[in-house]
Subunit: 230 residues, 2 copies
DNA sequence: CATTCAATGTACGCTATCGGACAGTTCGCA
DNA sequence: TGCGAACTGTCCGATAGCGTACATTGAATG
C-alpha cells in the first residue's frame, strides 16, 4: 500500500474501509474517472501518474492537474460532488487501490480525522490547479514543460517516465513539435535524458531554476500541510 | 444581507454566527485577504467583485478566480487551511459582511448542513479555477475577455462595472493595449458599452458565443449543486 | 476655468508559438 | 527479418500577442 493518503488514514478508519479496498492495475491510458459520470469508485494510485484533463466541445484537451501516490481521484466527492466535468486517466502506468465512493463517504462522514486529512489533500490539489492557471497564463512553453517534468518526477522517485512528446503536448496544450524542441534544449543542457518514449530527469535543480515560480509554491504548501513531501 | 451563502445558511447556524457578523464597506482595491497571512476574518461580499490573484516573485500578477455575492474569502479555511498564497482584493467596489475565521470554523465543525453548504461552494470555486487554467491555456485574449466580462456580470445583475483596461489586463495577464483593442471590437459589435473606466454588457448571448466553452461549464455546475444561479 | 493626470487609442517592430507538412528513425509484430 | 505504425526531428510561412512609445481624451481638482 504505497498511496500516501491511505497510509495516513487513522488505523480505525482504514480498518473500516479495508474490506472494500481492492487492488487495481493502472495501465497507461486507463480512464479512472470518465467525464460527468457519477462517482462509483475512488482510486488511490500507489505508483504512476493520473492526469486530470478538461475537454472542450471541439475536443481540445488540456491538463488542469495531476496526482500519483500523493492523491486520489475523488477530490470533488470530498466537497459533496457526485461527478466531475474532467476526465481522469493514467498518464504514466502504475498500480493502486480503489474503494467504492459510498464507502469512503461513509467513513469520512463519521471520522473527523479522516475528513480533515482528505480535505487537506483537496486543499493542496486546489493550489496545484491554481498553479496550472498561473503557468498557462504567464509562462513560456519551456517553463511550463520544466514544471510538468518536476511535478511528475516528484511522484515517481526519479524513475524514468514513459512519455511521448505527443502526450506532453496534450498536457500543456501546445504543439507536439514545440515539446520536441524544448526537450532538445533540456537534453542539450544535460538536464534530462530522453529516449524514444522515455524521459529521465538528471538535474532537478536546474530545471527548477528554469521553471521559476511556476514550480514550488504548491509543493511547499503540501509539505507544510500534509507533513510529507509529495 | 445579500450574500447567497449567508442567506442559505441554516437559521440555527446563522443565529449562532449572527453576534459576530460585522457589516463592511469594500471599496475598490481593498485587500480582503493578504498573501500568506493567517486568516483572521472570512468576508462574504453582498455586492462587488473580489479577485483572487497569484503573485510571482518578479511581481507579475494573474487572476486565478473571482467571487462576489456567490462566495466568500475563506475557501481554503473550509479545507483546513490557515492562510492562502493568493491575494484577495476588491476589483469592483461593493459591501458585505465578515465573521471571525474561528467563529465560522466552530459553526462548521458542529453543523453538518453548514459544512456541506460551504464545501459545495468550494467545489464550485474549484471548477472555476480549473476553468481559468483551461482558458489561459487554450483560448485567445478575446475569448478570455468575453469570459471574464460574463463572469463579472453574473455577479452584478447587469449593473455597469467600474473597470479600467489596465485592471482587466492585469486580470488576464495580457498587455493593456490588447484589452483596449478587444473591447473596441466588442463595442463595435454592440456587445458592450464602454466609457472611460466603465463597461456595461449589452448582449450576453453573443459574448457567450465568443467565449465558447471557456464560459458556462462551471456556472451550470454551480446552479446544479447550489440550487441557485450565481 | 486652467491644469494635470489617469485612462485610452494607436502604431511599430519583434518573438513565441502555431498549423501543417514531411522525412528519418525506432519499435513491435507478422 | 522485414513491414508498418508510432515516434521524433525539422522546416516553412503565418499570426497572435508582446514591449514600448507616444499622442489624445476626459475627468477631477485647485
Amino acid at each position: 500500500m504505497r498511496n500516501r493518503l491511505l497510509r495516513a488514514l487513522p488505523a480505525a478508519d482504514f480498518d473500516r474501509l479495508a474490506g472494500g479496498i481492492e487492488a487495481v492495475e493502472l495501465p497507461v491510458r486507463t480512464v479512472i474517472q470518465p467525464v460527468d459520470t457519477p462517482f462509483e469508485f475512488v482510486t488511490f494510485p500507489g505508483s504512476g501518474i493520473a492526469s486530470i484533463v478538461a475537454v472542450t466541445s471541439d475536443d481540445r484537451r488540456l491538463e488542469v492537474g495531476l496526482y500519483g501516490r500523493d492523491g486520489m481521484s475523488g477530490q470533488l466527492l470530498m466537497l459533496g460532488g457526485d461527478r466531475s466535468p474532467h476526465e481522469h486517466f493514467m498518464q504514466v502506468a502504475g498500480a493502486g487501490h480503489r474503494v467504492r465512493a459510498r464507502e469512503l463517504e461513509a467513513v469520512v462522514e463519521e471520522s473527523r480525522a479522516a475528513r480533515l486529512l482528505l480535505l487537506r489533500y483537496v486543499l493542496s490539489f486546489t493550489l496545484q490547479v491554481a498553479g496550472t492557471a498561473l503557468s498557462n497564463g504567464a509562462y513560456t512553453v519551456e517553463e511550463r514543460l520544466a514544471r510538468w517534468l518536476l511535478m511528475s518526477d516528484d511522484r515517481l522517485d526519479g524513475e524514468e517516465m514513459a512519455l511521448t512528446h505527443e502526450f506532453l503536448a496534450l498536457m500543456l496544450g501546445v504543439r507536439r513539435s514545440s515539446v520536441t524542441v524544448a526537450l532538445q534544449v533540456f537534453e542539450g543542457a544535460k538536464l534530462i535524458r530522453a529516449r524514444r518514449g522515455h524521459v529521465r530527469l538528471l538535474d532537478r535543480a536546474k530545471l527548477a531554476e528554469i521553471a521559476g515560480d511556476s514550480y514550488g509554491g504548491p509543493e511547499a504548501e503540501h509539505q507544510r500541510l500534509l507533513g510529507t513531501p509529495i
